[in-house]
Symmetry: C2
Subunit: 478 residues, 2 copies
């Protein structure tokens, strides 16, 4: 047991120092490692396997809706990036520039893509002629580069992995439906797969994507009360189409410009999973994306029949679950700690006495509740327990969101909640940028979104007292 | 039929101008498009779907052998790239350099990875302490950048997609076994999945990978008689380990350096598929990687029951095959040409008379052989026909390889075969670089490999007449 205690001791408590707890986990659960390039991380196999599971689920959903994957270049020529003014203003300060190849200086600088709207538009202009060519529903899995000064593993790094969807449509209505559809797809993914409750809403003009007409977002609340912008979906109107000269002959034989969208979700969701579900023993992974869903730990493995029974269980179930066995020479206690650190949702203990009784013990990672289970109905019991893990960690997160969302009726409450309390703040807003700026300045809280689910808290803007237009959600953000 | 003829007319004949035929196909089958970055291509959905199928098959095979996926940075700091002398000499002339981020000049230049040995070694040095940490069996799916002056879609481009495996092991023997195992895995993939016969062998000192002790290769013969280096597997010994200071405590409590390998296969295999199997009507795709394996074309689709029957077939089979239906308003003839261009292995025609007889017509892409097939055993018939396509196109390619491999017994034959004939040349070689250089200079043919399957053609080197050490395979290469 000495090893186990030592192992647990090494993690900072989340209530003591949340930032340190976070970096302890990403290192000790072997999700990532620092690289020799400042701000770029290495996603280690265990972390990358989570991302692969996320990819598999989303990729299937995208394809079911008719989206196709495509690969565009890593580089954007400077003149292409500069075509859309708001877009270049948003990204140019943080792009990496390639200036030389071998010993030769390039005639035109190339930036490493920070996002690929400009490349997609350039391609669309080449391949679209008629309304029969529409819609184009494209997606790309890749990494992008934004030169951030302050970085944190998964949450903010110079290079990060994501998917970026880019679509164009005949009508504004179709494009807006796509924007909403993809936001709803993300929300469903967070709630039902990652067990993370989210708030769906619209970004303010100040917070929207550079070049977009409208940005929709799903926002999640972390354990420490900060918000994480978890995925976004943008509607461009015909803005990019006009700038990039994407034209098509419409159903009336007129030349028209298509309406565009883009939408993305990145490896920062792994940071969200850690900060929503983790505890002082380490990660807690939602079963849908856990690289190992069930870990079998033989007890008294040297005794006759234990290891062979454990292997028999593995063989029987390995087609149904991501299941592994740890038959290393470490103590069971060390192994318990190890797989708790790695957030494996379900532990299956099996020892000589269990075998005598044709049973095993299932232990859920989140609650550590133990249940003796007959080996006869093991598959069903595992399925049920994985579902209990998912629904329990969802409930915990949902309760937190409810408890840590405060309603500010006036400026004093707004300041009080944003300095004293940790969490989200609901407040009425007049819609003016001046108030948004002043609130950010005074409280440090930014407008996370104008939620789709509006409540009428009062008639007046929380800050200026003028007539309120919307209820907004505010918070400090990662 | 006018449309069909027009469509077919647009492709250059392969015997007339093979290079033009190739670029016609990649454009017209919608595999790729040119981008605004010189030398970087856009892989369009149909081309990318082929790559996704290749990825799925290989990824599963890698994982079955214990390999794990990982994501390392896109950038390599200049000092890291320079650590291994042969390696930097090989790649530095063609790397892209990032020098600025936003408006700021970087203190140290970063190159965009041309390959990731240096990054993997840097990471291994951080995470390996004991023999218990070995082997590390890692793989990465990503794109890399090499600034080539002359580019061709899929075959040679500035940015290309690949997988790069990187492993380290306790002993040289284990690492050598890994190098061979992965080469054999590639060969199996080419032969049994892509239906491309390959020659397995070892690269000469001159042709091996920069920094490797030994490079193994699979070489394939294209329709025009040129060779394509299709995948490689490298053994590094402890060369990189020593340079990057990767140390571990071995089983005898001594400090040791692990032995390394790397191995890769890239999107150039798509070029190989085109040039081995294609014909004057377009692509011919091996069923294992075809995005659409079966295309259903309703004949007289406006007639009662035709479309509903076609849909019934689709519904029944869509879980078993990658199958689609084209019920657009184009003529059947146009559709036949369209899906021949796209290389769909099997066409399923169904019209009113077929339905009366409870049958349909299956047409194999390669031979255009038609067979009426009962709808009752359709699934089995499709399976059999797909397998016939695979084995037929393999046989065609294998016969070509046999027919177009020439044996040169002396210098005159070597020169004759390499100038007059198109194909591969078998010849004995003394093993000296001087002869290899001279042969390349005089004939334009390079040493593709020293094949594992050696034959004793004579005692003398084909060029200098001194004692021969090996039989080599020579050819002009893409």
């Amino acid at each position: 047991m000495g090893k186990q205690e030592k192992f647990v001791e090494e993690i900072t408590s989340m209530n003591e120092d949340f930032a340190k707890w976070y970096t302890d986990i990403v290192k000790k659960a072997e999700l990532m490692d620092y690289s020799s390039v400042k701000g770029c991380m290495i996603i280690r196999p265990y972390g990358y396997a989570i991302w692969e599971n996320i990819q598999r689920i989303l990729d299937q959903k995208f394809k079911e809706l008719g989206h196709e994957n495509i690969a565009l270049p890593l580089f954007i020529p400077e003149n292409l990036l500069q075509k859309e003014k708001d877009h270049v203003d948003g990204f140019a300060p943080e792009v990496a520039w390639v200036t030389h190849c071998g010993d030769e200086k390039l005639q035109e600088r190339l930036c490493v893509r920070p996002t690929s709207e400009t490349l997609f538009c350039d391609h669309f202009a080449n391949i679209v002629q008629s309304w029969r060519d529409l819609p184009k529903l494209y997606n790309q899995w890749c990494s992008v580069v934004r030169w951030e000064k302050t970085t944190r593993p998964f949450l903010r790094s110079v290079e990060f992995y994501w998917q970026e969807g880019h679509t164009i449509h005949e009508t504004p209505n179709e494009a807006q439906q796509e924007t909403e559809q993809m936001l709803n797809l993300y929300a469903d993914f967070f709630e039902n797969y990652l067990a993370i409750p989210v708030i769906k809403g619209k970004k303010t003009e100040k917070e929207k994507f550079s070049g977009a007409k409208e940005t929709l977002t799903v926002e999640a609340l972390m354990y420490d009360g900060k918000a994480l912008q978890s995925a976004t979906s943008h509607y461009f109107g015909d803005n990019f189409s006009k700038v990039f000269n994407i034209k098509f002959q419409d159903r009336n034989n007129q030349i028209s410009y298509p309406y565009g969208t883009s939408w993305g979700l990145s490896t920062r969701v792994i940071g969200g999973i850690i900060m929503v579900h983790g505890d002082d023993s380490g990660l807690i992974l939602p079963p849908s994306v856990a690289p190992i869903q069930v870990i079998i730990i033989p007890i008294a493995a040297h005794k006759d029949g234990v290891l062979s029974k454990a292997r028999e269980i593995l063989e029987k179930l390995k087609g149904k679950f991501r299941i592994q066995i740890d038959n290393s020479d470490q103590s069971p206690g060390w192994k318990f700690s190890q797989y708790e650190m790695k957030g494996v949702p379900l532990r299956l203990e099996i020892g000589p006495r269990d075998i005598e009784n044709n049973q095993c013990v299932l232990v859920r990672r989140n609650s550590r509740e133990k249940a003796s289970t007959s080996l006869t109905n093991l598959e069903q019991a595992i399925e049920e327990n994985l579902e209990i893990v998912r629904s329990d960690i969802y409930k915990t997160a949902k309760n937190r969101l409810t408890k840590m969302t405060y309603t500010a009726q006036n400026k004093e409450e707004l300041i009080k909640f944003s300095t004293k309390n940790q969490g989200l703040i609901k407040a009425m807003w007049c819609g003016d940028l001046a108030c948004e700026d002043a609130i950010k300045e005074e409280t440090g809280a930014s407008f996370r979104c104008i939620p789709f689910e509006q409540e009428h808290l009062s008639d007046k803007c929380v800050y200026c007292g003028k007539n309120a237009k919307h209820m907004a959600i505010l918070g400090k953000a990662y």
